[in-house]
Amino acid sequence: MQFSFHDSAINASSTSDLIPALRVKDLAFYYGSQKAIESVSMDIYQGQVTAIIGPSGCGKSTFLKALNRISELEGVVRVEGQVEFFGQDIYSRQVNLNRLRRQIGMVFQKPNPFPSSIYDNVAYGVRVFSRPNRVSLDETVESALRSAALWNEVKDNLSKSALGLSGGQQQRLCIARALAVKPKILLMDEPCSALDPIATMKIEELIDSLRHELTIAIVTHNMQQASRVSQYTAFFSTDESRIGQLVEFGATTQIFMAASQSRTRDYVQGRFG
């Protein structure tokens, strides 16, 4: 199989020059009493795109949702180990969940715009935290929509319902909505899985342009996409115990061309379940 890599991935700087925006240490995650992932340790470097790949059910979404504690909406969950956000333990008691989630934004697999206007969707996060005046809010909305490459398509219809947009536009709207609160990290869970190749390409370009402003972690089932957009890649998998584990983490070129584990090689070459 042939992969094309991102320029910056080919000349990836050594990891010692990079600052970890998130540092995960020996993380285990439980839904009720059911362990979903265990002993995951890896860094998500600032200003880089980290791809998370692996077979279905290996805990990629679980891992991502543990990074901004959105998983806690899903009932009784438990975490062992540590996740540090620029050195601060996100599971510490002092952490304000709402602040945490504001700084670590999320884009979901299925586009989930609110049933309100395009403008109100993007303005939502800003309005929750402050009482912005109209002018500055307008500016924020416009720049978020521009960053998400959606501005030109919707600028004349900002007051129209977001539900009237196409799936790809809705997903870019969700990205704009997440960007409007100026997060430090953006977690994306299979953001292109419901989109056609053109919309997918737009989102990939978008990810690339955002890389300079923020850190991105993206779950994807599309190996080509992982190789195109990311600088680092984490490969998750499960064994007989059905508990997800991190098999290998490294520079994207290395994972795709010279993985040290045979399971990784098999998976990226498509020789795995």
């Binding site: 959105i70 709402n98 609110f114 049933p115 996060g125 929750v128 969700c174 909505r177």
Partner: protein, 330 residues
């Protein structure tokens, strides 16, 4: 250049047609199917017929009163069985006011119950019991609610009514010495009776909102309450309105419990601490003794008005729901 070879054309052979047959009678014209279709159509038509028939009978019986009093019936105040002078205003007023009080109390409480039992503000082991108990209120026969009103609620609320009168009598709605039964108590009883309707429907509407919207809101840093007020309630607004209108419809028509606690006074009073009367309560009280044609006619005229009131409420509800969902809210 070599063009790709033309695929050899084959004609459809007999073998291929084996089992390929799109015509036939089975399925759509079977007797059971046909019979069931007729049955369902018959039932739905008969519902409409019964409704029309009922209105026709009521209208027919109301004729004498309609001819005698005309539309003036709606805004005159006398109700004298001996003199055969009838005016509907006190009962229309009482019906509307007691139902409005009921809605005013039951809507916020019902919504609160719906919110705490559908979202994760309470631990799960508390949520379902609360929802269940509130829904159970709907199963209490209205005579029992009325008895409870007389023996428990009135004695319990009488001091509060006194207190309202003593401290707030400068507000017109509390401007009379309470004697026990009152418009306020009737409103509260009605509120209790329509609470389960409002709570249960609003809860179902809230639960039906996709989980993804909650995650989206939380991932933008909203607290559960902010999510509730900014996303969930706006998304559920048409359903909640529907619930409120259904509750209002029930309150307008409720008879037994209201008769027992409202005091059955034919005077219109602004004060909610005064007794009053409603259309259904008056019908229940007087219909058995009514013998004169005009008296029966007046009562039937009232019934017709009640019918129209509930119809209007339901039509407003439908229009509002349509309007709100057309605005992309739902």
């Amino acid at each position: 250049m070599t063009a790709s070879p033309e695929p050899a054309k084959k004609s459809i052979s007999r073998d291929m047609l084996q089992g390929v047959n799109l015509t036939g009678q089975e399925g759509n014209h079977s007797l059971v199917d046909q019979g069931f279709t007729w049955l369902v159509q018959g039932v739905s038509v008969s519902v409409v017929v019964i409704l029309g028939w009922m209105s026709w009978v009521i209208f027919g019986q109301a004729r004498p009163a309609i001819e005698q009093f005309g539309l003036g019936f709606l805004w005159t105040q006398n109700w004298d069985v001996n003199e055969l002078v009838f005016g509907a205003l006190p009962y229309i007023y009482g019906t509307l006011v007691s139902s409005a009080i009921a809605l005013f109390i039951a809507l916020p409480i019902g919504l609160a119950v719906a919110i705490v039992t559908s979202e994760s503000f309470l631990p799960p082991w508390l949520r379902s019991p609360i929802a269940f108990i509130v829904e159970l209120i709907a199963a209490i026969p209205s005579v029992i609610v009325g008895l409870w009103g007389i023996f428990v609620l009135i004695p319990f609320l009488q001091p509060i009514q006194q207190w309202l009168f003593q401290h707030f009598s400068w507000i017109p709605i509390f401007n009379s010495e309470p004697a026990g039964p009152s418009m306020l108590i009737a409103g509260i009883i009605l509120a209790i009776m329509i609470l389960p309707t409002i709570a249960a429907i609003s809860r179902d509407v809230l639960i039906a909102i996709p989980k993804e919207l909650r995650s989206a809101s939380a991932s933008l840093g909203a607290t559960p309450w902010e999510t509730t007020f900014r996303v969930l309630l706006p998304s559920a607004i048409s359903g909640i309105l529907g619930a409120a209108m259904l509750g209002l419809g029930r309150a307008l028509g409720e008879t037994m419990a209201v008769t027992m606690v409202i005091g059955n006074s034919d005077q219109i009073s602004l004060s909610l601490l005064d007794p009053g009367n409603t259309i259904p309560a008056l019908l229940a009280n007087q219909f058995a003794e009514a013998s004169d044609g005009l008296h029966i006619g007046a009562l039937m005229y009232l019934a017709l008005i009640l019918f129209a009131l509930t119809l209007i409420v339901n039509m407003i509800a439908i229009v509002m729901v349509k309007f709100l969902s057309a605005n992309g809210q739902s």
